[in-house]
Amino acid sequence: MKEFKGRVVIPGQCSATALVSHGGFNTLASYQTSFLTGDKKATCSDQNNPDIYKKPMAGVALCLPQTIGCTTGGMILFTAADYGRQPACMLFANPIDSIGAAGVLLSDIWTDAKMPTIDSLGDEFLSYVKSGMKINVKDGGIVEVLDGED
C-alpha cells in the first residue's frame, strides 16, 4: 500500500477500483458514445486514449493527469453526474485544469452525485497506480493505493 496526499477539490471519502489514464482525459470524446447509446457503464469511447478506451468509467477511481479537449467538457461531466454515470472519484496528478474544475464543481453543486476529487497528487502517483488496483480516498486529500498484496 502506498499513500499519496493532494489538495481537496471536492471533499468526501470513497473506495473504488482504479482506472488510469496516463494521457490527458478528453471528457467529450470519452463520454460521447455512451451518451448516445444510453450505456449506463459509461464505456469510454476515446479511441485516442488506449489506456481507457472501451473500459467502463462509471463508479471507478479515475486517475488522470488533467482533462483536455473541448470547452464543453465541464457540461459533459455534469451531465454524466446527473445521470449517475460519473466516476466514484477523480484523482488528478496535476493541479486541476479549468474545464475539469468546472465539471466537478457543477456536479457537486447542481446534482446529487458524490464524486470526491483530489488534485496535485504528483507524477509519482500516476506512475505507481495501475488500472485494477483498489483506491481509498480519505479526508484531508489522502489517497491510499492498494496493490494486489494488500
Partner: protein, 425 residues
Amino acid sequence: MKLTTQQQEILDGKKGKTYAKIMETLVRYGELFGAEEMAEVTGKYGHLVTSFGLKVIDPVYKLMDELIEAGVVSKQKFTMDPRPLDKNVPSGPIQDLVFYKFMYSEQKRYEKQLEKLGLKSKEGFSCACYFDEQGNRPQKGDILSWAESSAVVYANSVLGARCNRNSGIIELFGSILGCVPKFGLLTDEGRKATWRVEVKTTKLPPAQVLGSAIGMKVMEDVPYVFGLTEYLGKELTPSVCDYLKNFGAATASNGAVGLYHIDGLTPEAAELGESLIAEAAKTYVIDDAEIQRVIDSYPIIWKNADAKPKMCFIGCPHLSKNELLGWIHRIYDGVKESGRKTTTIPTVLTAAPGVLNAIKGSKEEQMAEELHLTLSYICPLMYCDNPLVHSVPIITNSNKLRTYTSCRFYEDDKILEMITGKGRA
C-alpha cells in the same frame, strides 16, 4: 476570495437559492485557481459554447429550466456557437431521421430557453462571433465571460481582450452575474509567455499546421512567436486576421492554448515586446522539417485509407467574408479550368449567418449556386461527430475538425486540387 457587499449578499441567498448556487459555483471555481476577487465583465456580450439541442444532455435543459423558473436573466446578452443542423447540407434520409428525430430533437426547446435567458439574436450562432457581421467584437482590455476555444484565443490574442478558457455553463454563469473570478489570462502575470517559439521556415507555414505544432508542444501555456512578421507584416489586415484565426483555432484544439503573442503584430506584443516573455521560458524552434513531421504525424482513421472522399468541409472555424469570397473564386476558377460544371464531391463552405447574409445577391453567391456549392451556417464538427458520419470519408482543411472527428486533413492547395478535379479525388 474577497467579495463585494453585493456579491456576498448573492452568495448568502438574498436574491434566492438559485442565484446563490450560481455565485457559489463561480467562487469555488475561482478559489481553485487562487483568485482573490471577482473581475467585472466589461465586454458587451457573452458567448456560449453549448449551442446544440442534443437529446442526451437533458440535465442541461433541466438546469436551464431551473434558472428560468427562478427568474434568472443574464446581465448581458450572449451569442452562441453554430447550430448543428442545416437542411441545405447534403445528408441522406437515415441521417435526417437520426439528426432531427433523435440526436438534436431538443434544438427548438433549447433555443427557446436561451431566448428567455438572454440570447442576442436568432442569427447569433457562430464560433466566430467576433466578426463585424456577427456584432460581438470586444474591445482591447475588455473582460469576457466566453467559452468556445477558438473564439477565446482570438479575443485574447488578436483583439487584446481578457478571458479564461471557460467551460460550458461556467461562461453562462459569468454572464448572468456580470463577474468572473480574476485569475489566469485575466491577469498581467498570467498573460506572460512561458514559451519562446522561433519560426525558421523558408516560407509562411500553413496557419493550421503551425498552430497545431505549437498547440501540441505548449499545451495550455502561452507562446510568444518570432519570425512571422517577415511574411505577415506588422498590420492586422483582414487576411492577416484570417491567418491568425485559423492558427489560433489549431493551437486551441490541438493543444489548449488560450492566448498567444506574435512578435511585432498582435496588440500586446506590439506594445510590450519581449517584456511579455517570462524569465524561464522554454524554446521551440520550427523549421520546414518540423512542419512536415507534424503533418506526417496525423493519424488517418478512415477504415480504408485509400477511400475516395465523399464530401468536403471548408470553414472550421467559420469563414470570414474575405475567406468565403476567396474560396468561391478559387473553386470557380479551378472547376472551369478542369472543364467541369461542378466540384468533384459535395463541398460545404461554412460561415457565420451574418457573413452569408452579407454576400446575398452578390455575383459570388451566383457563382456558388452555379457550382452547386453549399453555403451553410452549420457547425461541421457537430455534423461529423456522430457514429453515422464516422464511416464517411470526409476531407477538410481544418485541423480542429481533424482533431475531433474522422475527417482527413489536407492543406488548402491540395483541397482545392481535389475538389476542382485538378488532382485525384
